[in-house]
Amino acid sequence: MGNEPKIFTKTYKWVGTRPVRPDGVDKVMGRAAFGADYQLPGMLFGAVVRSPHAHARIKSIDTSAALKLPGVHAAVTAADFPDLPSEVSAGGEAPVNFRHVSLNVIARDKVLYEGHAVAAVAATSPGLAAEAAALVTVDYEVLPHVIDVLEAMQPDAPVLHDDLYTSGVDPRPTTASNVAARTGFTLGDTAQGFAAAEVIVEREFKTEAVHQGYIEPHAAVATYAADGMATIWCTSQGQFMVREFTAKLLGMDISAIRVIPSEIGGGFGGKTTVYIEPLAVALAKKSGRPVKLVMSRVEVFKATGPTSGAWIKVKVGAKRDGKLTAGEMVLKYQAGAFPGSPATLGGMTGFAPYDIENASAECWDVVSNRPKCAAYRAPGAPMAAFGVESVLDELAQKLGMCPLELRMKNAAKAGTRALYGPKFLDIGYAETLTAAQVHPHWSMPLGPHQGRGIASGFWFNVGGPSSAAIHINEDGTAEVVTGNPDIGGSRASMALMAAEVLGIDYAKVKPMIGDTGQIAYSFLTGGSRVTFATGKAVCEAADATIAELKKRAAKLWKIDGQHVEWRDGQAWSTLDDGTDRAPLPLAKIAANASKTGGPISGAVSINAAGAGPGFGTHICDVEVDPETGGVTVLRYTAIQDVGRAIHPAYVEGQLQGGAAQGIGWALNEEYVYDAKGRLQNASVLDYRMPVASDLPMIDTVLVEVPNPGHPFGVRGVGEVPIVPPLAAVANAVSRATGVRIDALPISPPRLLKKLVDAGKV
């Protein structure tokens, strides 16, 4: 295969090292304050009244009995919130319709899923709040409901929104339906491509809705002062997002809200929107006291966003030598109760690892009576990749080809045009395949009932608005303030990059996450953007700080600024005037700051462009117990082009975490509904995410093909690793059993049935 992974030859003092993370001690010692850890004097506790029905009209809500209970201070319903117009704006990770966000936070005329919030109360204790919530009477007219995505698309399906007309179809429908949108992409001519094919594989697939599964439930404390100023302490992936969304939903000025981010106990995309923050502010406004709202695990499962379950059809055509001639996919994704599934992203990503002349994707966004989906790590991509990578595995079997060779033969490279439009620049997909082939895992022998699967995956990674400020302290230490919650070790990465650019010791750099009043706007932590975009801002802030330090050195030396250079954390004079000027270390310049113009700092706000796309290839070995359908993951290796690993341990952690979540998605995780549309497994017992003992140690290989758009070559790394595992596991099980897996999860009852039906046991 020839393409050796490109390895960085340039080495740095700090970038690429593995120091202890700045937030590590607090987290290990239990001192780190998460969302539910905030307390304020006089604080009330909120509880949310939720719909027991999957679909119902709200005839009336009566909070009077709850309010009569001593100790209950406030109750709110949709009547306390502005009735927002339908208006789409860029907000979270995807375009946002604030009317939908508002109706999801608190139902107005209809409840659209079990667990949909209809009212909230605040009382002096959590127990009293729960009692008050139970006293709120809601008169419902129960409506027929629909859970399944294909059923929801039927013309006779119960319609959730009477103002929803399918967009993207011509002519635009005149009747409302659950089909929110059709989008599509075309490259070349697929009919011609399939005509030229010598082998065609076509298959339908199904995946279930899965939850992000963060450990920390949503939690917020809000105050509302007499001057109309609100403060929110909460866990989220973006304090600026919480501020904007809450302001919008309550009709407040953005400047009237300050959001103070807590530590975050996982988000994976699920904390890129608001659920309880606007309720807490509304309750605080009504009661005049601080209000705390903390979701239970059941509420997290029933009322926060999972990602879509999907129905997928993929067809590929190839020549006998394995060269792909055409690829087609149709994706139908559950959006949940409001439009906005990541179907389009599935269509953009599924074929992205491959150079296919003729390809198309047709994507359908469909609402049904489930909680509104939220972003989940590479939203939309894992399901599409499950279809594409499974079909490629089957194609390799049909052709009698090594599945790695098949992928290598069709691998996208610099210059390849992707189905979604752009031509790739420097990418490292082929390098991940080479790394897989030379990895010892690939050639390990397999035993009976064992199988090996491989699969690849792609994610765009994004940039966007980020701010950073560096303050040089009087003793020469530095503070690095950014506006992104640290969800995956980003503080360590920010500190390493600042230390590298400034030329000072990592231990002298204190990274901090500012609240909305302490740092300029930063888009949320998501899209694998923080180490890239906010990291770029930190590098630029460090450059600005160095420019200032050089000016100060020039002043101390009484020479012109152009004669000063910055190297190894010191100012060096380049002026050759016979005077011997010893270099000025940063600490010395800092100590003299008041004599040269006051405090030294550098702050930038940027809109980071040049994010580098990421590709990964995973190898998975499983053993299947044919008598029970039990699947054991024996070995797992995740290989990814990461551009440049700033802190390799946390990059490896991202790869391992993504693989673990993807394995759970493949094997056991699913939303189970009863006939009335009620979620049956809203607990971590019955919503089966893998536990540590379910997984082998996940091996990682970091391939580093630098991204030219970042000073250190960083690519986003957090999302790619959840894209390949669904297919990697399914391909391994398919090869172990001889039965092609076309539906997830591959839970024991489902697999055993498949084996029995295929006559394998």
Partner: protein, 287 residues
């Protein structure tokens, strides 16, 4: 909100009298009760902590057998070398309940009286032929483990009654027991099917006695005499094991739910009963 009373009697009589009060619930390890209270599914008025009663906290060995207090924790019984040597299947079943932390509290009495059809220790107790001593307003009585649960969350215990201890009669030589369960995950999970088998061999390796208990395949854990009968008189060969598996599957009356289908549970009950019998056989042979 009504306050909950907490009582910690030190005698059986006191416990019976407190448990006879309206809304009283016995507390042993609390690994089910406290979770149910937090989830709002039970609201006891009186919590009677029975861990203060000496009889419930001890493990006694006599020539006739072992007597294990109903509130002895899993970790404690596992550390009892003599018991673990004689009843490895009971211990392995008991120790499947919960995490290490839960093992420090969870009890056999609690696992039985919670009356979950999926309780791990119960099929193993049934297979071992364990008998309970029950104390109540009418005095003490004895009952077989398989007669305690009557349905999900329901027991045959009368108001005021609770389990004091379990008696395990000393088995004949060449006896082995084993318990296996099926869970999709390796830990932190609940049995989708559980199977306990206890069998005895004569000097020639013929099976002289057997008991088979199944969990999670019916409204309560089952004793399956037909499955046991498939083994008795045989050398526990493949043909006997196949009959045992078929009898175990035939005894199932499972439900479809979020944890498994009827079809899956029925089939896997046979598989697990067979595998548990193979494990018990190896132990009976001293392997």
């Amino acid at each position: 909100m009504e306050a909950i009373q907490y009582a910690r009697p030190s005698t059986i009589d006191d416990a019976v009298s407190r448990l006879s009060e309206t809304g009283a619930r016995a507390l042993a390890g609390g690994t089910d009760l406290l979770v149910q209270m937090r989830g709002g599914s039970v609201r006891p008025r009186v919590i009677v902590d029975i861990k203060g009663i000496a009889e419930l906290r001890r493990v006694e060995q006599t020539p006739q057998g072992f007597r294990v207090g109903a509130a002895v924790a899993g970790a404690e019984l596992g550390e009892h070398t003599a018991f673990a040597a004689q009843w490895p299947g009971v211990v392995e079943a008991f120790q499947l309940i919960g995490s290490t932390q839960v093992q420090g509290r969870a009890s056999l009495g609690g696992n039985l009286c919670n009356a979950s059809p999926a309780a791990d220790s119960v099929p193993a107790l049934i297979a071992a032929g364990a008998r309970c001593t029950i104390a109540g307003p009418g005095g003490k009585r004895e009952a077989a483990v398989e007669d305690i649960c009557v349905g999900p969350g329901k027991t045959s215990l009368a108001p005021g009654e609770f389990i004091v201890d379990f008696f395990f009669a000393t088995p004949p030589a060449h006896t082995g027991d084993a318990y296996l369960r099926f869970t999709p995950r390796t830990e932190m999970d609940i049995a989708v099917v559980g199977a306990g088998v206890c069998l005895s061999l004569d000097a020639n390796g013929r099976c002289t006695a057997a008991r088979v208990g199944l969990g999670a395949v019916a409204p309560r854990a089952l004793l399956v005499p037909a499955a046991a009968a498939a083994l008795v008189g045989t050398s526990v060969d493949d043909a006997a094991l196949a009959k045992l598996a078929a009898a175990a599957s035939a005894a199932c009356q499972p439900i479809d739910d979020k944890r498994g289908t009827i079809e899956f549970r029925t089939r896997v009950a046979g598989v697990l009963a067979r595998r548990a019998a193979v494990a018990a056989l190896a132990r009976a042979r001293g392997q």
